[in-house]
Amino acid sequence: MMNTEQHPQDLLPWYINGSLSEQEQQQVERHLQQCSECRDEVELLQAMQTVAKQPPESLPSQFAWHRLQRDMHQDAQTSPAKSRRWGLSLAAAAAVAVIAVQGVLLLNFSQQDNYQLAGHDLEGVVVQVRFNPDATEQAIRTTLQAAGAEIVTGPGAAGVYRIRISDQEAEPELQAKIDRLRDNRDVVHYIQRD
């Protein structure tokens, strides 16, 4: 049996996840063939891996993307030249990887301009909405557009948005819009006037 210093125990976790170099991998494999102590270590590490691989207790909600959109929108309004400067910096970047990643970011953000987030000077009725956690961003967007609504603030800590619905129509039509939103249970979990 080899002494403790010769056990490659410091490499075993990465032997398990398959990220060692070929040389290290072979070194560990050779050792494992003759060391029951390290094979026990591998068993323990595999038990740890099984637990660590379990899905997380919660996933980021659909609101995460809306929140980021809102913040990017506010950021761009605060400093309108930011996106342009960013674009110019891309042109100057020499590394292909930089262009690849940030080019994707810039292109995609520029395509979001049909999605209004921050409030404008539009007159209207403000209602509080909590969207269904399973609703997709596209379903929420379609629902809001159909109702002629836009997000004013949110999400708050409880996932509540304030949305503004244009009040160009009479009260009965306006209430009917709110009722239709309430009935759209796939998208709207809760809605009430502010």
Binding site: T4, H7, Q9, D10, L11, P13, W14, I16, N17, G18, S19, L20, D40, E41, E43, L44, L45, A47, M48, Q49, T50, V51, A52, K53, Q54, P56, E57, S58, L59, P60, S61, A64, W65, R67, L68, D71, M72, D75, K82, W86, S89, A93, A95, V96, A97, V98, V101, Q102, V104, L105, N108, F109, Q112, E137, A157
Partner: protein
């Protein structure tokens, strides 16, 4: 940006959640990381994988939250990148077969140890990549994992004795 967000948001969120144990804080970290990326404050230099780069940014945000919580005292030694040697003690491997107990003991690991365990076994990162994320030498990453393993064994033995 949506494409980029959809591709990477789970990694960032899960990394933050497993370390902070608080969904609201993990959501804040996710938002801050993606916003920082969009602002171009941290540029991807192509010297590592995108995930390594993103989790490196997330690591700074998480440490900020820890500092605010003032809960980092007992982890101070680990976060200082100080190197230590872990003892290799006798251990009954049959204890590792109880998944619930293993999970219980993994949850009790220090924040710095859970970080390395998560990056190794959830993200399947190499130890050099983990070193980039946590900002320590690769040797420290290995040492932290050795300590995590040692503490896990101690906890399993204590659970059995109880």
């Amino acid at each position: 940006m949506n494409q980029f967000f959809q591709r990477h948001h789970r990694s960032v969120y899960t990394f933050a959640l497993r370390r902070l144990n608080e969904p609201a804080d993990a959501a804040d970290v996710l938002n801050d990381v993606m916003l920082q990326v969009w602002r171009g404050a941290d540029r991807f230099a192509g010297q590592s994988k995108v995930t390594t780069w993103l989790l490196g940014i997330a690591n700074h945000k998480i440490m900020d939250i820890y500092r605010k919580r003032k809960r980092h005292d007992h982890d101070e030694l680990d976060h200082s990148c100080e190197d230590q040697h872990a003892a290799n003690e006798g251990f009954d491997i049959s204890l590792a077969q109880d998944a619930a107990m293993v999970k219980h003991c993994m949850d009790k690991l220090s924040e710095a140890h859970r970080e390395v365990v998560h990056l190794t076994f959830f993200e399947d990162m190499s130890y050099p990549d983990i070193a980039k994320v946590v900002g320590c030498p690769p040797g420290t990453v290995k040492t932290r994992m050795m300590h995590a393993k040692k503490n896990l064994k101690r906890c399993l033995q204590a659970q059995q004795a109880a």
